[in-house]
Amino acid sequence: MNPVTQIAPEHYRTAEESREVFDRATHRYLGMSGDEFVAAWDAGEFEDVERPEVAQVVMLLPLVGRS
């Protein structure tokens, strides 16, 4: 059993790995690449940021150094 101080083991992702996770997530939730999402996001193309798929991807923006 894990000690009580830890619920799950952690894995430290490199910046490149984080970018790859972001890219796979944007494909999974929105059917586009990470770069395509960031460009569309910056262009203000997502109005409903609370839609589940959009909300999930927006919360992953820190993986590419964005907030």
């Binding site: 009580v4 101080t5 799950a8 992702r13 984080s18 589940p52 999930q56």
Partner: protein, 157 residues
């Protein structure tokens, strides 16, 4: 496996902890629920017992999906995000099979929600089967630390 993106340095953009964002973590139990976690934090200077540096939570998205990958519920707090609601809130998703049309997409205000609270609810009330017998003690101990060290709402006394 909890993924740590960013680590432990001062940065303008928040760091993120993620679990199940590429493939939600399937949990055992008749409800066939799956878990997604995204938690934002920054490393900031702090005084007193919390210092000289601390991890300060600045947002979260904790969600449960059903077997068809439909969101059942999601706890959101994204005060720095563009658009959306800044206060902590709950969404009941398509997977919750809500009959009241206006509830779909509604922002149901909550206080700050600990991940431990969602996990406790999933096990105790939504039929998720725990992996370990001492799950309640593990969650209670972890949540007590959260309540002791948080800065909002006020630390538990």
């Amino acid at each position: 496996m909890l993924d740590v993106h960013g680590g432990y340095h001062v940065a303008e953009a928040p760091h993120a902890l993620t679990l199940g964002v590429e493939a939600p973590v399937q949990m055992r139990g008749p409800g066939e629920l799956a878990l997604r976690v995204t938690h934002h934090y920054r490393i900031i200077e702090a005084e007193g017992a919390r210092g000289p540096w601390k991890a300060s939570s600045v947002g979260y998205l904790y969600a449960l999906d059903d077997a068809q990958s439909r969101e059942v519920l999601a706890y959101h707090w994204h005060p720095e995000g563009r658009g959306g609601k800044a206060h902590p809130h709950l969404h009941l998703g398509e997977g919750a099979l809500i009959g009241h049309e206006r509830l779909k997409g509604a922002h149901l205000a909550t206080g700050r929600v600990a991940l431990e609270s969602l996990l406790r609810c999933a096990i105790a009330e939504l039929g998720v089967e725990p992996l370990r017998e001492d799950w309640r003690e593990v969650l209670d101990a972890s949540e007590r630390r959260f309540e002791e060290w948080r800065t909002w709402p006020s630390p538990a006394s």
